[in-house]
């Protein structure tokens, strides 16, 4: 049974952000049908939380945190390797070579702008999970650093360095295409 309060809060806090939820899920799972399942699962969780009277201050960040968790559970079940790769070791490695990218030829802004849809999508898809989710939340969902920090549970400093790293990787891929 869904209470009237739960229903109203759901309509107020969840339904307006469905597009954001879906977009994030798509980039995390990489598939439209799976994204629908993940969003549906997240919405059920969200409704339960609202029924329990959880106060929600920043609904979008709150919902995206739930979508992210749902997506991680889904990945854990269906793509366990993706999760393993998102561990700390990979990040340390990425950070180390972040300092080296300065040495390779700088990608051109003009070249970046010419990239087509498929190339951009493939480049984003190719990012390690932690970078990808941060980039998607910032550029596609339009979240602030604070909201991203809340949604991912990472400190703001980490959000900033992941974002910088994600952009460096993308610029490198798109700017030096064949």
């Amino acid at each position: 049974m869904v209470s009237e309060t739960g229903r109203r809060n759901f309509a107020e806090h969840v339904l307006p952000h469905l597009d954001d939820a879906y977009s994030l899920a798509r980039w995390l799972c990489g598939d439209a049908t799976d994204a629908e399942d993940v969003v549906q699962d997240a919405c059920v969780r969200a409704l339960k939380a609202l029924e329990g009277g959880a106060p929600v201050e920043r609904p979008r960040a709150w919902l995206l945190a739930i979508v992210r968790n749902a997506a991680y559970s889904w990945l854990g079940k269906n793509r366990p390797r993706a999760i393993v790769l998102a561990g700390g070791a990979e990040e340390a490695e990425a950070r180390a070579d972040a300092l080296e990218t300065g040495g390779s030829p700088s990608p051109e802004a003009a070249l970046i702008e010419m990239a087509d849809r498929a190339t951009v999508a493939a480049a984003i898809d190719g990012l390690p999970l932690a970078f990808r989710e941060t980039l998607v939340m910032r550029e596609i969902n339009g979240l602030s650093y604070r909201d991203i920090s809340e949604a991912t549970g990472a400190p703001i400093g980490t959000v900033m360095s992941r974002l910088a790293r994600a952009r460096a990787l993308l610029a490198q891929k798109l700017g030096t295409a064949p």
Binding site: M1, V2, E4, G6, R7, F10, A11, V14, L15, P16, H17, L18, D19, D20, A21, Y22, S23, R26, A32, E36, V39, Q40, C43, V44, L47, L99, G102, G103, S106, P107, E108, A109, A110, I112, E113, A115, D116, R117, V120, A121, I124, L135, R138, E139, I140, N141, G142, S144, Y145, M160, S161, L163, A164, R167, L170, A171, L174, G175
Partner: protein, 274 residues
């Protein structure tokens, strides 16, 4: 590029791009950019990257089927069935005959028309209107009568409903007419006009205003994730629903109100609307 402070400056650059700097930070950043061509080239690249991502990997709309299911999650378990929308969603193929039956009922209950929209809470009516709009998008049949000509749509509606609907031509304002349909709101048939803007559809439903409502400024609401604008002129209330951007929807509402007002003044003789 390993000079001290490189990473901090780089993060500052990203924060500037993301609008996360305070005024002092912005001034500092502008100073750095002016002094360092490498840094400003990097800034240009980041901006190009952002534009590219926004243009080529935009935020996607959740599929309507998903949106519907999510609305149902919160609604179906509720006690009183509202309107006739659940069967309409569940069983699209029979909907047309169902609508026909409802329209016939409406004609048979002429005398009750004045009760439209006054007996039920307004949000119930709004939800029914939004549901009808969503249903129309999913079924791929947004209209019952397809016509860009208001002189076709108006008599069609008039033949099915006891109240004469205002049908205005907004093609010049960039919103060509797509047709009309009859929606069921608070148990009665109401006229809904469908206009187009590029690939988007706008449904405008006309209701009897509660009491002799004065003309009211458009109110913006969100129902089920859809932007909705409600206003009233003379004795009629209107509800517009669309997935257009708020700016475009406002432009539509303004054009519609102007055209309707003109129609009234001109005694129905005016041909086109500005």
């Amino acid at each position: 590029m390993t000079r001290p402070g490189f990473e901090d400056r780089s993060l500052l650059l990203h924060a500037a791009l993301d609008g996360e700097l305070d005024a002092a930070g912005v001034i500092e950043m502008e100073r750095l950019l002016a002094a360092d061509p490498d840094l400003s080239a990097e800034y240009a690249r980041l901006k190009a990257l952002r534009e590219t991502i926004r243009a080529k990997a935009p935020r996607e709309r959740a599929p309507d089927s998903l949106r519907l299911r999510m609305m149902e999650i919160a609604e179906t378990k509720q006690a009183p069935p509202r309107e006739a929308k659940t069967p309409r969603w569940r069983d699209p193929p029979s909907w047309r005959s169902f609508a026909g039956a409802m329209a016939a009922t409406v004609v048979a209950t002429l005398g009750l028309q004045h009760l439209i929209a006054s007996s039920n809470a307004p949000d119930t009516a709004l939800q029914a209107i939004v549901s009808a709009h969503m249903r129309s998008q999913i079924s791929g049949q947004p209209v019952d009568v397809v016509s860009t000509d208001r002189h076709t749509v108006k008599p069609w509606l008039a033949g099915k409903l006891p109240v004469a609907a205002e049908v205005v031509d907004l093609a010049e304002a960039g919103f060509p007419l797509a047709g009309g349909r009859i929606d069921i709101v608070s148990g009665a048939g109401v006229p809904t006009l469908v206009y187009k803007r590029r690939d988007h559809l706008i449904s405008v439903t006309e209701l009897r205003a509660e009491r002799a409502e004065e003309a009211t400024v458009p109110r913006h609401l969100a129902v089920g994730g859809y932007p909705v604008v409600r206003w009233s002129d003379n004795e009629r209330a209107y509800v517009a629903v669309s997935d257009l951007s708020p700016t475009d929807l406002d432009a539509f509402v303004a054009a519609f109100r102007r055209a309707v007002a003109k129609e009234r003044v001109g005694g129905g003789g005016g041909e086109s609307a500005k």
